[in-house]
């Protein structure tokens, strides 16, 4: 089905350069002819060159000298008043609720650039962005919000962030359409009053041209090369992963474990490596460029995701695209990506023994690795390839645009 791509899309709250999946989506949309505007605070000088079709709406950060900030804010305000005085009134009605002056100025700084401008769809790639920019829901443009994992599954349970629950409810109520990365995330979001009639699942995708397997016999000699990628945050359950690796070593399996990524729990991870005596076995690479990730993936024998919570892991889909069998915990939408005993193994969360049992099966059986790796690659080609995904997003946006046109 050919969808009309003649519409203007605003993507809000992106930190540039964006995550791989978002970059892929934005590129796919601009290539399809959609007029995409990205609003972001930080922008690297090269990004304009990287995609000349992209439009930018720069929202200045609320940092630096107070005087400069105020001058910048005043000049933005003057321009905004000329562009869209009615929008200023809309924003003001929201901001009056805030009490603290500094907080109010910060909010104005965030919103003024949007006054007097219109798009056919406004897209929030994160729930937190939608909550931060909630006055934009009143501009009269249809709004699409994405739910991706942690902000739905984890953060709302933090007793110090209970306001997030209200934010989720408010944005779900007012959004035209809500996108979820997995069925499981949609199910979880429904506990924050997400109407199933206006929610839609589009699972993430990978560039299968870039992530593809190396031609080889599936073995690395004696050494079992295990790998994981992801930010070093507690959600990734790396403590359990390292514990499982220790159990495997104790059984006499020789292996190497590559961890790619960085994050706030780096200290926890380095300590656990040290405490479990895994210094020689585990290699902590920090953040790597995409090429580095790809080449490590293609040399690995298996991928491990020991997360305690996920929406659906992009890292796992990338690994599957590289023909790797996957051991994943059963959290969030992981079962939607990996079927137990087909593309890998699905084990319970927080269970190092179950993880190590599954890994052992793969470590001792190169045939099994090869078979599951092939199944993984086929599954990705069938369900998680980038071209299909861009088409799904175009359909989704077109539905939103057409509906709103009809309503007008």
């Amino acid at each position: 089905m050919q969808e009309s791509t003649k519409f203007r899309l605003l993507v809000v709250g992106v930190s540039w350069p964006p995550e791989t999946f978002l970059a892929g989506l934005i590129k796919g949309l601009t290539d399809a002819g959609v007029e995409v505007t990205v609003s972001c605070t930080k922008m690297q000088p090269k990004s304009r060159v990287a995609n000349p079709k992209l439009r930018w709406l720069r929202v200045p950060t609320w940092q630096g000298s107070v005087v400069l900030r105020l001058i910048r804010l005043a000049s933005m305000a003057v321009r905004a008043i000329f562009r869209g005085p009615s929008d200023i009134a809309i924003f003001a009605s929201h901001i009056r609720k805030g009490s603290n002056l500094a907080e109010r100025l910060r909010t104005w700084n965030r919103l003024l650039q949007f006054a007097g401008r219109r798009w056919d769809v406004i897209y929030f790639a994160w729930n937190s962005a939608a909550i931060d920019y909630i006055p934009l829901f009143d501009l009269g443009c249809p709004v699409v919000v994405s739910c991706r994992g942690s902000q739905i599954h984890v953060a709302p349970h933090n007793p110090e962030r209970l306001e997030l629950r209200q934010g989720l409810r408010a944005t779900f109520e007012r959004a035209t359409l809500v996108h979820c990365v997995s069925e499981a995330t949609m199910h979880e979001a429904q506990s924050f009053r997400l109407d199933s009639a206006k929610s839609q699942v589009i699972r993430p995708s990978v560039d299968t041209q870039f992530f593809f397997p190396l031609e080889r016999d599936g073995t690395n000699g004696e050494l079992f090369r295990l790998m994981t990628t992801g930010r070093l945050i507690f959600q990734k359950g790396l403590g359990y992963a390292l514990h499982a690796v220790r159990l495997l070593l104790d059984e006499g399996i020789s292996l190497r474990f590559d961890i790619v990524g960085d994050g706030p729990e780096r200290q926890y991870v380095t300590y656990t490596i040290y405490d479990l005596g895994l210094e020689r076995v585990v290699h902590l690479h920090g953040r790597l460029p995409l090429g580095g990730v790809q080449s490590l993936l293609r040399r690995a024998d298996a991928f491990l995701l020991a997360s305690v919570s996920e929406g659906i892991s992009n890292a796992v889909i990338e690994a599957m695209a590289c023909g790797l069998p996957v051991v994943t915990t059963n959290c969030g939408g992981m079962r939607e990506a990996v079927q137990d005993c087909v593309e890998g193994f699905v084990v319970p969360v927080r269970d190092p023994i179950a993880i190590s049992d599954a890994l052992r099966k793969l470590a001792v059986d190169p045939e099994l690795r090869l078979r599951m790796g092939r199944a993984a690659r086929e599954r990705v080609l069938r369900e998680f390839s980038l071209d299909q995904q861009v088409g799904r997003w175009l359909t989704l946006y077109a539905k939103v645009v057409n509906n709103s046109v009809r309503l007008r």
């Binding site: 984890v154 953060a155 349970h157 007793p159 110090e160 962030r161 300590y271 927080r350 190092p352």
Partner: protein
């Protein structure tokens, strides 16, 4: 003899031991001073002992502000003037040495060390290893002795990725203080020469403050009418391994034991802990109480049946000592100095870290056996009263400081282990 203690913040609820040590040594006639980054007036009110003693406020010196930068720049001449006025010889010595070694940067250092220059201490005691990192110049510039304490996180994971991270401290410090055998082994694993002068001084507890009154463990616990009351006290950080404790509670519940688990403390790992509670569907069984005052903690300990401590990284753990003083049987992991702290099968159970099933098993055992809880509770209190007395701790610090000053005469002389009286009896016990 003037001793200056360096800490990040003073007084602090989670670091009561610094306050008791400061007061104890002051009482015995040592000229004690504290240099810290911050001091919160609200926190002073929580330490009546500090307020009772006259002049303590003037013995606590806050560092000059580092930020904003422009303010720090403006204050550099003020700090310099003050240093010259209060300690002309020391300041010129500092600047001369500094100029020779690090050039103009000496002025910035002087600004950061202004309080130490003014105080002219005989001994500078860094209460945490991490604080001494990058300050090896002080010993030479101020011509004083340096003592460094290692209390856990500093040796466990500070700079653990770098092989020779604490090299300067091993070379320069006149004495190393560690809380127990395990920390000393860690220090050696991280490059400290085995013959370095060090002293093991375990933490101490005021057994009068942590008074269980006449508590008795007579109830069979674990039923709906009388749930097993489990308590943890500690900052909400990954080091404390709360996810494993919560997992153990889930296992306990699966075995049909009714329990109520209360956690005292706050910290940056709150989200992970709250999520674990939600994931294990324990919202009704686990309560996060936030930070509580010492009196409130004592009250919580009086109600509890068992103290649970599931740390993955630990120094020695004062909260576990306090729990033993409160006649609480302890179920804990074997992280860091915990096996030295709790006598396995005598005052509680020590199980391998990261094993929720083992924690659950011991919790269930204690829950079903009030006599055992009573016996272990009594043994725990006795242990604290004998081995972890405040007076002994203060005496040990006096010995440490005296020895450091004596070794002044025999510079670079004998370097050996010095185990204080308490520690000898502890290892024998």
């Amino acid at each position: 003899m003037r001793v200056t203690i360096v800490v990040p913040s003073f007084p602090k609820l989670t670091e009561t031991f610094i306050v008791t040590k400061f007061l104890g040594l002051l009482e015995r006639g040592w000229d004690m001073h504290v240099v810290c980054e911050t001091t919160d007036l609200a926190d002073w009110d929580r330490f009546p002992d500090l307020l009772r003693q006259a002049g303590t406020r003037h013995r606590v010196h806050c560092s000059w502000p580092h930020r904003p930068r422009w303010l720090a720049l403006l204050l550099v001449p003020v700090a310099l003037f003050r240093c010259i006025f209060k300690n002309p010889i020391g300041t010129s010595q500092y600047l001369l040495n500094g100029w020779r070694l690090i050039g103009i940067d000496a002025l910035r250092r002087l600004y950061l060390d202004a309080n130490l220059v003014i105080l002219k201490p005989d001994i500078i005691h860094f209460e945490f290893g991490a604080l001494a990192f990058g300050r090896k110049h002080l010993k030479e510039f101020l011509n004083c002795r340096v003592v460094v304490s290692f209390r856990g996180y500093d040796l466990n994971h500070f700079g653990v990725e770098h092989d020779r991270f604490f090299r300067d401290i091993w070379d320069q410090a006149d004495a190393i203080h560690v809380l127990g055998e395990d920390l000393w082994r860690r220090a050696m694993r991280r490059g400290c020469p085995a013959d370095r002068f060090h002293q093991l001084i375990p933490p101490a507890i005021d057994a009068n403050l942590f008074n269980p009154m006449n508590r008795m463990h007579t109830d069979f616990a674990g039923t709906r009418e009388r749930p097993l009351r489990i308590l943890s006290v500690g900052r909400l950080e990954w080091e404390k391994g709360y996810e494993y404790a919560i997992h153990a509670i889930r296992k306990l519940k699966n075995q049909g034991v009714c329990c109520s688990y209360r956690i005292v403390g706050r910290g940056s790992f709150l989200e992970a802990i709250a999520f674990a509670i939600h994931q294990f569907a324990l919202d009704d069984d686990v309560q996060l109480l936030g930070g509580l005052s010492q009196a409130q903690v004592v009250e919580e300990m009086r109600i509890a049946d068992i103290f649970l401590h599931s740390a993955v990284s630990e120094g020695f753990c004062n909260a576990v000592l306090e729990a033993q003083a409160m006649m609480l049987p302890v179920v804990c992991s074997d992280a860091g100095g915990l096996p030295e702290n709790v006598l396995h099968t005598e005052t509680g159970f020590v199980v391998p870290r990261r094993y929720p099933a083992a924690l659950a098993e011991k919790l269930a055992l204690l829950g079903s056996d009030p006599d055992m809880r009573q016996r272990m509770g009594l043994a725990g209190r006795r242990r604290v009263q004998i081995h972890f007395r405040l007076v002994d701790q203060i005496t040990s610090f006096e010995q440490l400081y005296s020895r450091v000053m004596q070794s002044n005469a025999e510079a670079g002389g004998e370097a050996d282990t010095y185990i204080c009286a308490t520690q000898v009896s502890l290892t024998e016990g």
